[in-house]
Amino acid sequence: MIDNRILYIFSTILFLIGIFGAITNKNLIKILVSISVVETASNIFLVSIGYIKNSKPPILDANMGKISVSNLNISDPLPHALVLTAIVIGVGTTAVGIGLCIRLFQYYRTLNINRMGDKDEL
């Protein structure tokens, strides 16, 4: 029942929820959280590409025995590798974001972006 299209639709919905959160939230931390939601949505999409119906994980271990060219019944390993990197990138950006939030809070005494002096001196 679960095939690529359903996964694709699921990840787009998650993506849009993340963006909706990023747009409508007032608090900066909540925005950063919703952005990490967006990151995870893209990661999920990336993993869902490699999904093959009732296939085994791409790790050669005892009970799988051998990998033969003819019946290669494992899911695509490449997206897994890509996701590994994408997660860390998500972490990186959120880390820097949090640092900036701390500094902004220390400056403006509030995290509500509307009151962060939008009419500054130009």
């Binding site: 694709y8 409508t24 093959i52 050669l60 025995g65 060219v69 490449l78 860390v88 640092g99 701390i102």
Partner: protein, 275 residues
């Protein structure tokens, strides 16, 4: 946006996102010719990762070299090849049982090194941004925290070492192991307010990073291309099988552990009160 028309903003946001949602759905329900996302994919035949999982990249490239056209690798996929048996086949291309780790460190190793730098630069960024910021110190550790930390630390240490060493056999590898080490240092901070000096952590971090890249650079001088595998690959499935991946992944775990603990330390009690 003023406070009042906030929910109007919400409505509009919803409208925009609905339009984008429709746009994103078009590719699925499109009749026109040309490739598109199918319902489900049968096998890895038309993908590059078929060669990765059958560890047959070098001899595919050898056959392609004669024909001179590298773009026609899909036809050569169904050539007969001896299959890889767990704990028997030896001296393969990279000898790691976990194919994902083989891609992560061997076939597309450069991405992981890039990822390493991402983490490195974001932590430096964090320290630069939060430089000389004084934090409100946490209240002293309660009894519960002390005993809990005391009880948990050995087990955490054990799992992180296990994960980092078995990177090429079981899922997980350098990055999860590093994050576990970081949690360890967090517990120590919470429990005993003890943390290594920042200078020491930075030193470990930069040396391990330097070593990772240096070893990779050795590949260039020995095997003629950067990140080339100059160590023997051993028997698939054994603990000591693909030596280069083993070394690299352990260094990565040390580096990530040191880095994340630096990050946690700066977030925890600021940079300057370096006890």
């Amino acid at each position: 946006m003023k406070e009042t028309d906030f929910n109007v903003g919400k409505f509009f946001a919803f409208l925009f996102l609905f339009i984008i949602f429709i746009f994103m759905l078009f590719p699925l329900f499109e009749q026109g010719n040309g490739l598109k996302i199918e319902k489900e994919i049968k096998d890895l035949r038309n993908r590059v990762s078929f060669a990765y999982s059958t560890k047959s990249v070098t001899d595919i490239t050898k056959t392609l070299k004669e024909s001179g056209d590298y773009s026609k690798y899909r036809e050569i996929y169904n050539q007969e090849r001896n299959d890889i048996r767990f704990k028997e086949s030896a001296n393969l291309e990279n000898g790691s049982a976990n194919i994902v780790t083989s891609i992560v460190l061997d076939y597309r190793g450069f991405d992981t090194l890039g990822e390493l730098i991402v983490l490195f630069i974001s932590i430096i960024g964090l320290t630069i941004i939060l430089s000389n910021l004084n934090f409100v110190p946490f209240n002293p550790p309660t009894f519960l925290q002390k005993t809990g930390v005391l009880f948990l630390t050995p087990f955490i240490m054990l799992t992180s070492i296990y994960i980092s060493l078995h990177g090429h056999l079981t899922p997980g590898g350098g990055f999860p192991a590093g994050s576990i080490i970081a949690t360890l240092s967090l517990f120590l901070m919470i429990g005993y307010k003890f943390s290594y000096k920042l200078k020491f952590l930075n030193f470990i971090e930069s040396t391990s990073g330097f070593l990772v890249f240096f070893l990779a650079l050795l590949g260039l001088f020995i095997t003629g291309s950067f990140l080339g595998n100059y160590l023997p690959t051993g028997i698939v499935g054994k603990l000591f099988s693909s030596y280069l991946i083993l070394i690299l992944y352990s260094l990565v775990s040390i580096k990530v552990g040191a880095e994340l603990s630096v990050a946690i330390k700066t977030l925890y009690d600021g940079e300057n009160n370096d006890r």
